[in-house]
Symmetry: C2
Subunit: 204 residues, 2 copies
Amino acid sequence: MTRRTFHRAPEGERRQELIEATLDCISEFGLKGATVRQIAIRAGVTAGLVRHYFESKDQMIAEAYRAVIASLTEKAQNVEGDPATRLREFIAVNFTEPVADSRSVSLWAAFISQVRVDPVLAEIHREGYLAFRNTLQELLSEFLAAKGRPASEEECRRYAIAINGLVDGLWVEGCLAGDLFRDGELVSIAMASVEAVLGLSIEN
Amino acid sequence: MTRRTFHRAPEGERRQELIEATLDCISEFGLKGATVRQIAIRAGVTAGLVRHYFESKDQMIAEAYRAVIASLTEKAQNVEGDPATRLREFIAVNFTEPVADSRSVSLWAAFISQVRVDPVLAEIHREGYLAFRNTLQELLSEFLAAKGRPASEEECRRYAIAINGLVDGLWVEGCLAGDLFRDGELVSIAMASVEAVLGLSIEN
DNA sequence: GAAGTTATTATACGCTTGAATAATATCGGC
DNA sequence: GCCGATATTATTCAAGCGTATAATAACTTC
């Protein structure tokens, strides 16, 4: 019996691979199909290694969730240009890969469904949601000011909640059943709706 | 050893109880925590009975999903009155119990997360989404006509997609973290946004 | 009220699960 | 080039999983 060959992964890299493998498994087989063994196979290692990098499977799952939130928000945070351009980009990003992807929404839903079960995941969700919404609120505040219609923080808050809801809702359905919509239809509907809600054009 | 006493449930009733117990378990423990044994305990029967009513656990889960979709949509389908009232009701219902409830969104998310895994669930989702959206589209068509601004089917379709997304998105966040919003805030934001999108008041 | 039907319980089976442990191969420092 | 440290594999374990089967208790019918 010959033992399986292997190489030691560089610092931190294996952790990342394991998290990525975890997400792959969750999106493909669901949370209950994402077993330690399945994840190990996907990562190209043996099951025992998981416990060398994480205290428990649950802890690994929680870290994987943090990675999902980060990937869903980071693209939206780092937009550049004048306020109108940034607002347009912020919206468009959600209807473009890799955010607009059935894998993303599967992961998002899988974790959402655990928010009630696991307080740790609930806290991660809450932070992610607020970060996303606050980014949007700040963006709206600048946009409205630039358009010569500055709004109170309270007003921006309401706009941010509405637009965040709109974008999220369209994002979910677009990811789940993209074939129900024409190319570019969702982003076009989103833009038009945001303009209507704000009562302003998002063009420069 | 004395055997556990029991009574025979009337036709269909036990099925319903088992489905309800399934949903309870999914919302409380997640899909992977909803085991046959847990579900049986919740329903007040023994595990073996599940297979007397359902061919398999998977089939029971699928039927449970149908029940969720039904509960989320039936409230919205059966609104009465003039078009404006019905439109207002349609929206408001989504921010009122039992639709607006963390249990509902947990169930919704749990199944959504399986859409990629299980084609049966994917089909159930698709039907439910389209039924909901088409109801809304019909409602919008009547509303716009009544307001003296009749719109083409294509226009109504776009409005329906947008408003459905908006309502869904707000519903999700409201259910997940209701404490982030003031009383009635979400329904108020939803109404205002819908009015902005349509460019019309929803009052009579 | 006895007989027949079947809903329900009880028990068992094979498999998978997350985790613990022991053996071993790889690598950095010297 | 050896040596200690540790990343990785291999193996094992008890618990829990979905399901199958057999015994039994509760109704129905006559």
